[in-house]
Symmetry: C2
Subunit: 193 residues, 2 copies
């Protein structure tokens, strides 16, 4: 299974943002919404056995983690607005604890931060890092959790914590890409194995 974790440092942690201005009012929630499409969808359907967790560390009630499971996902459309609506619904469940609460089918939400999320995962962690080994030649586990930053990258504390946990660090190529583009490129390199 492929799991992607994307850290939205300013991303809204409750509804109240405008769907007309996800970037501004949602704290770059547009990035996380695009990651849903990139992680879950291919031409005319869903990928099998993929998980995406979007981390919402912005106001008003951080942290929140929203989990998408492609094997059970419904109501997923490729457009960004539809993905933002799924995020809005999940963030609107009012969950305050660390147990995953179901939202729409295939989507759940918990009030946990990055470290607590990673503590609960078994698969080896692979860090997307421009100074890492090139993905095309890297020996990667069949099942892994890939962790990506948003437009702000990672904080020094996150970076240290992630490096200490990472089984591997991989680079996707010579050009620095947006988070959703990273997921698309990573899927392609993994599809080729």
């Amino acid at each position: 299974m492929r799991r992607f974790v994307v850290v939205g440092h300013k991303a809204a942690s409750a509804p109240g943002f405008s769907l007309k201005d996800l970037a501004g009012t949602g704290g770059r929630l547009d990035i996380l919404a695009r990651c849903v499409g990139a992680a879950m969808l291919v031409s005319h359907g869903l990928r099998p056995d993929v998980e995406l967790v979007t981390m919402h560390l912005g106001p008003p009630s951080p942290p929140k983690a929203v989990r998408f499971d492609s094997s059970r996902l419904q109501h997923a459309n490729p457009d960004e607005r539809s993905s933002a609506l799924l995020l809005e619904k999940a963030l609107g469940t009012g969950t305050t604890g660390p147990v995953w609460q179901p939202s729409t089918p295939g989507v759940s939400v918990a009030a946990i931060g990055l470290e607590e999320l990673l503590d609960g995962l078994r698969e080896p962690l692979v860090l997307l890092d421009e100074s890492g080994e090139d993905v095309a030649g890297a020996a990667l586990p069949a099942s892994a959790t890939y962790v990506l930053g948003d437009h702000l990258g990672f904080t020094p504390e996150e970076e240290a914590m992630l490096r200490a946990r990472a089984a591997a660090r991989v680079s996707l190529g010579p050009v620095s890409l947006q988070a959703d583009q990273c997921i698309t490129v990573l899927h392609n390199h993994l599809d080729r194995r």
Copy 2:
């Protein structure tokens, strides 16, 4: 220079669609909007020397071609809605002839179809085709025009016309992707050369 041409068979050819429902009211205009971000943008900026032409073959006044030039583009944001607004403005210029009319900076529009567009291009044409040679090993020209279908692929007539003109046909891997994902993957393979 890299040029991408994406054929929107049902895509709106004039304003009047809803930004809340680009897929339905815009004839899958969401696909073309996502291609703008995929073709033009990387992390924190624009790619140099890339062109994207979105073909709008749906009602009410087809054909229209909208051209994005990354070296002059302004007002480009990564979110899908912003790209749709640039498309809406370009389609609203009221152009009826085959000469490119400027819209916002770096965006222009002409009332031409796919064949007329390709007639005016010098670079060799590369067709994205799942039965083509794998992109990772393919000998590709440094400058080329890459032609992609939308969710409907190509019509038999387009397919015959494109195959007759194509200098190469390349496949991006074992999984069939959405048009914007194809552009992202193609960029990555070209970036690695």
